[in-house]
């Protein structure tokens, strides 16, 4: 049985709690949060506390708070030589305080409040200083996911950067698509099957091999027409720079 304490009560902590609660070899013994607010939905299910001095004993302490608060928070823990990990994609393991054994337990997914998630397919990226801790974290990850990877801090940082492109930025392009539809009285719903197919295609095919469209064909006429159709300067700039990037990559100069 692996005993876990969650430090933080946000989105990731809540989803981790739900996932751990479903499996037999893990017990969440306590959830800590600085404020009582946020802990309400854990109450009556597990011990909760707002006092770091009240922390119980566990095998793994999982810090799941805002990235820029992790380093400082880890210094305030009065634990000694315990395994303390964080769940962040962008923060190096070394940022954790030296009084404890360090590790990372990073679930690579975009979590939405209130939306239940199946952890089985979610990649969990593990890092630890010593082999024993790495094995324990891997066990913990395997209990909720079938997609566990040992990833060092440098690799994790680049994964997080790539995730900004394929998740945050992609979602913003969806938003621009929705905006164009709304301005022209067409339902954005008509684009949804295409969006799903675009994502599905790269499961088996490299995105570099799936590229299509006017930029790939270097179809200057359509490109000029579409640029003139965009009335928003920022959208024009985005159209232009991504088009240039595509034509440059596939060997056609604009």
């Amino acid at each position: 049985m692996i005993k876990v304490i969650l430090l933080g009560a946000g989105n990731v902590a809540t989803h981790l709690y739900k996932a751990f609660a479903k499996v037999e070899n893990v017990t969440v013994v306590q959830v800590y949060n600085r404020q009582l607010k946020g802990l309400e939905h854990f109450n009556n299910q597990v011990a909760i506390t707002t006092l770091l001095s009240d922390l119980k004993k566990a095998d793994v302490y999982i810090i799941s708070i805002a990235d820029d608060a992790i380093a400082k928070f880890s210094k305030t823990l009065s634990l000694k030589n315990e395994l303390v990990v964080h769940t962040s994609g962008s923060i190096a393991m070394d940022n954790l305080d030296d009084h404890n054994k360090k590790g990372v337990f990073y679930p690579l997914q975009s979590f939405t409040k209130g939306k239940d998630i199946d952890f089985k397919q979610i990649p969990i990226c593990i890092e630890a200083y010593n082999k024993k801790d790495e094995i324990l974290l891997t066990q913990l990850a395997n209990s909720i996911s079938e997609n566990v990877h040992i990833i060092n801090s440098k690799q994790r940082k680049s994964l997080h950067l790539a995730a900004v492109f394929v998740n945050n930025f992609v979602n913003h392009l969806y938003t621009i698509g929705e905006d164009i539809c709304q301005k022209n009285n067409v339902s954005f719903d008509i684009l949804k099957p295409l969006i799903q197919e675009t994502a599905k295609k790269i499961i088996d095919l490299s995105p570099a091999d799936s590229q299509t469209g006017p930029a790939k064909r270097n179809d200057k006429k359509v490109i000029a027409l579409q640029l003139s159709e965009l009335k928003n300067k920022t959208q024009q700039d985005i159209y232009q720079i991504i088009t240039q990037s595509i034509t440059a990559k596939y060997g056609n100069k604009l």
Copy 2:
């Protein structure tokens, strides 16, 4: 029974042929292509021809060729007062020649050669000058898809523009994600569940409400770090401009 002749033998024509072949109320009576090459995979299944003078009689003639060849090609047809439609997202219906009745039959999807596709969910956008033709094209579209829309040329043009953002440009962001992974020795596979989830999320939620990430939070520290991590100038430019667009939209100035 609706009789159809396909003019063109490319990706869209091939997928349409397969879809029509499966349903009872449609017969493809002939497939035309300028060259014999491309017609091989239709041979023995349906009448084929490379001569416009050999065209049979049909209820609908579907031009499915490169966008910039449509107008000129439609002039070369010796048909008179027949229903002649094209399958393009970006070409206005009016570009078709005046000797025939005009229409559009635009399946909004990105077709990949050799990859079979289920037409049921694919939106088909219909346009016609007169109601009778609109009804016939709608019937034809309904026979293969459950997602049929009456869309005028202006709306279709904007749909096509939005599709460039949510399909072509999104795929290019996937490509950048893959590039970052490769340069840092991490498997791009780790990002695939996130990519699927990002696409699935917008089925029920507006993308404007799904936005997350450093740009949305206006997290200047992470943004500066990630920009410095990118070694490719074009990738830096794309990162910067989309980040600016997100922070501007969500009310935070950089």
